[in-house]
């Protein structure tokens, strides 16, 4: 059965889920619900089409439903995230923590787009397909999310962008 192909994607689903919800166990629950749904709906997957994108779509739907049901995201966002920018630091470890904290301060919609683009390296078209939103919405969410993260991180200068010419 081609269903076993799904198993190959579990590590990447876990990476995305972890980044999306933060907590390891909540993330694995999300993966588990996604896999169950994928199994049950596998007949809807068109062989030859991108299985990974299809799984991300399922995870998105499960995530949205969970967030709606439990309001997990909103509570977490309100409890944990200070609305002030974090202190600039040279320490790599602290910097990663800062990025994570800032990531949590994004709305779930913005966070999904940023993670699918930056970490999962999907194309904008693939993100548009996975989240079922127009490409213009992908771009505006991406733009706002990146700018918000930049503002909150204090725009510190660590590695200059190489500009050719």
């Amino acid at each position: 059965m081609d269903r076993r192909l799904i198993i190959e994607h579990i590590p990447r689903l876990r990476r995305y889920a972890r980044a999306l919800v933060g907590d390891r166990y909540v993330a694995d629950d999300l993966v588990q619900d996604t896999l169950e749904r994928a199994w049950n709906k596998f007949y809807l997957w068109r062989p030859g089409s991108d299985l990974r994108a299809w799984l991300f779509t399922i995870m998105h739907n499960v995530f949205v439903n969970q967030a709606r049901r439990r309001r997990y995201e909103i509570e977490q966002a309100m409890e944990e995230v200070p609305a002030v920018s974090v202190r600039a630091t040279q320490s790599e470890q602290l910097e990663l923590q800062d990025v994570d904290r800032v990531l949590r301060s994004l709305s779930p919609e913005q966070r999904e787009v940023v993670l699918l683009v930056a970490v999962e390296q999907l194309t904008y078209e693939e993100v548009s397909g996975a989240l079922d939103i127009p490409i213009g919405t992908v771009m505006s969410r991406l733009s706002r999310a990146r700018e918000r993260m930049r503002q909150l991180l204090g725009g510190q200068t660590v590695m200059p962008l190489k500009v050719v010419k």
């Binding site: 076993r4 980044a19 588990q32 199994w39 990663l96 990025v99 994570d100 993670l115 970490v119 771009m139």
Partner: protein, 246 residues
């Protein structure tokens, strides 16, 4: 200078611009240092997010996730049983057979034992070597009563060493052995399964030091064993599966 759009600036960061468009954006950035600074920060965000979350890829996958199965299939089997045997008997059958464990626990155990016995062998790891691959596959196919294939794992660094015939609870068993450049060995154990033909998901079992991925396809059970990391073994198991089910 032609103004570049916000979308083009992001596309530049995410590496999906054509040559010509890249040059235009770069020219724009030279003239607009505030945009250059902004993009630098965005590119850094990409790098930081990846270094933050890429390590998840190297974590072992929890067994609970590998064991996720279709509830729909279970319901389907249960419904079929009810249809065939009547409500009362159907419930009994569901209780007896429709459980999360649809595989004999003995398959990974037997495969791991065979792996542990033969893979350390220096002089006689196999009965028939890969030099006589055609003969080996023909012979084992005949004994198991099916057409076997020895998967080609050379692209993953594992060359076929050869194979042997073993005996199992359901009669003859085929074992193919592979080895990488460092002498790390994997074995593929193929045995006939009892009962009705069925398909199962990949399952994982840790048998002491031997990791085993196993599955059932129709009448045959397959188990890939090795003392390597679970993700690496899963990768090989995926290739084996695809080659056996083209």
């Amino acid at each position: 200078m032609k103004p570049v759009t916000e979308a083009e600036l992001h596309t530049y960061i995410d590496g999906a611009l054509s040559e010509g468009a890249r040059a235009e954006v770069e020219a724009w950035l030279v003239a607009h240092p505030e945009d250059a600074e902004r993009l630098r920060a965005y590119a850094e965000q990409n790098a930081l997010l990846r270094s933050l979350y890429n390590p998840v890829l190297d974590e072992p996958v929890p067994a609970a996730l590998l064991a996720v199965r279709s509830h729909a299939w279970r319901r389907y089997f249960a419904a079929a049983a009810i249809f065939a045997l009547g409500i009362g008997l159907g419930w009994l059958v569901r209780g007896m057979f429709i459980t999360p464990q649809m595989l004999p626990a003995s398959l990974p155990r037997l495969a791991a034992t065979a792996h542990a016995v033969y893979s350390p062998e220096v002089r006689h790891p196999v009965e028939v070597t890969a030099n006589e691959e055609e003969h080996l596959v023909g012979w084992l196919s005949k004994r198991l009563g099916t057409t076997l294939k020895a998967p080609k794992l050379a692209p993953l660094g594992y060359e076929l060493v050869g194979g042997r015939l073993l005996s199992g609870p359901q009669g003859p068993v085929a074992q193919f052995m592979y080895q990488d450049a460092r002498g790390q060995r994997l074995t593929l154990y193929v045995s006939r399964q009892r009962g009705e033909p069925r398909d199962t998901a990949f399952r994982f079992s840790q048998e002491d030091r031997v990791s085993v991925f196993y599955w059932v396809d129709g009448n045959f059970g397959y188990a890939l064993s090795g003392e390597i990391k679970r993700e690496q073994l899963l990768n090989v198991a995926g290739v084996v599966y695809k080659q056996l089910n083209p």
